[in-house]
Amino acid sequence: MLALLTRDLVLATRAGGGFGLAVAFFLILCALVPFGVGPQTAALRPIAPGMLWIGALLACLLSLDRIFALDHEDGSLDLLATAPVPLEGVVAVKAIAHWITTGLPLVAAAPLFGVLLHLPGAATPWLIASLLVGTPALSMLGAFGAALTVGLRRGGLLLSLLVLPLYIPTLIFGTDIVRRAAAGGDPATPMLFLAGITALVVALMPFAAAAALRVNLR
């Protein structure tokens, strides 16, 4: 298991591995928003929480197909499925690796992007906290979607389509935390809900994803 995690992380840092690409995508998206809605602070500030979360979500989404597709193509997944490790564990480890390579850098870079979109400074700690709590759920749900679509040629768009609705609760509570914090309110309640969702997803989704993977491997 640990071997798998370290291998995935090493692969991510090797050439073409895609470490940091999610952050770059996030940056581009944040740069696009002002082009879309106009550069004025008054226009940007109210939508900043939503845009930051949508940006994180899309950056995460775009890298989902890496979770299993590469291992499926080169046969590693078949071999892992016949190796003495539970497939649920494999799924969980893959989701963790995805989170470390995309979610964690996003969390680290979020304050910067908050500045770009004129997020009030007081909301920044809450932005970080909400992403820290919420992005693991995004990775785990994404792993489930990736497991569903792993055999398909270019499942990318289909994968997005399947996973986006699953992301909605996380998105709602995540933005609500930041929005309340930006308005000077108390974000504790949505934070609780968000943590609950993440806990639920992390506890249950590995089993669903492993089941989907077994179907796709046979």
Binding site: L2, A3, L4, R7, V10, L11, R14, A15, G16, G17, D71, E73, D74, G75, S76, L77, D78, L79, L80, A81, T82, A83, P84, V85, L217, R218
Partner: protein, 211 residues
């Protein structure tokens, strides 16, 4: 000691039985070669025995954690070096890193140990894929066309590795079209077991349930 016994097995691909009624058993020190024309179901049979898909009917019995499977795709990461690739699989199979040197030497890869797998030629990649078997520590090898893209010298080397494995009490089940030079191996031709199409009491999938 019996490492694999298969009884009245039927396997399906695309919802339709490919072969049925297959039965054989493999003891320590034995090798069995599956033969048959393209599309008969050799790959399907091997994947079923490896546990990647459920059998439609019949029994497969083998000791727990005995089998190692090697297919067309070698499961190599091109960005990792030869040694890193092997080390990964050794750890996944719970082995230590000690066996890696032996495996590399056995498949004549020692000189390439620190080279990224992406820089290997097709035959060298294949050799690395076969070296993986040695680090799994498993006794039953399930091999699908193991010598594809190997040149003559490498095929002979692979034959020697198989023989050593059998001598140590291992067993091997292989599907191949080519001659491996393993005179001691039994051969099972699957042509005789080709499934008769039609609706079944126990359908393999939608295609049979609605046939």
């Amino acid at each position: 000691m019996t490492l694999l016994s298969v009884h009245d097995l039927a396997v399906a691909r695309g919802g339709i039985r490919a072969v049925e009624g297959v039965g054989f058993s493999l003891s320590a020190g034995q090798a069995l070669i599956l033969r048959g024309p393209n599309g008969i179901g050799k790959t399907t049979l091997l994947r079923t025995i490896a546990g990647l898909q459920p059998p439609v009917a019949g029994q497969i019995a083998m000791p727990e954690d005995a089998a190692a499977y090697a297919a067309h795709a070698d499961g190599l990461k091109l960005a990792l070096t030869v040694a890193e690739n092997l080390r990964f699989w050794a750890r996944v199979f719970g082995g230590d890193d000690g066996g890696i040197g032996t495996a590399l030497a056995a498949m004549d890869l020692a000189a390439l140990a620190d080279r990224p797998a992406g820089f290997l030629s097709a035959g060298q990649k294949r050799r690395l894929g076969l070296a993986r078997l040695l680090v799994t520590g498993r006794r039953l090898w399930i091999l699908d066309e193991p010598t594809v893209s190997l040149d003559g010298a490498s095929v002979a080397r692979f034959g020697a590795v198989i023989r050593a494995h059998l001598a140590q009490g291992g067993a091997a089940l292989m599907a191949t079209h080519l001659d491996l030079g393993l005179a001691e191996a039994r051969v099972l031709d699957l042509t005789a077991f080709r499934a008769v199409p039609g609706r079944r009491a126990e359908p393999a999938g939608f295609n049979e349930a609605f046939a």
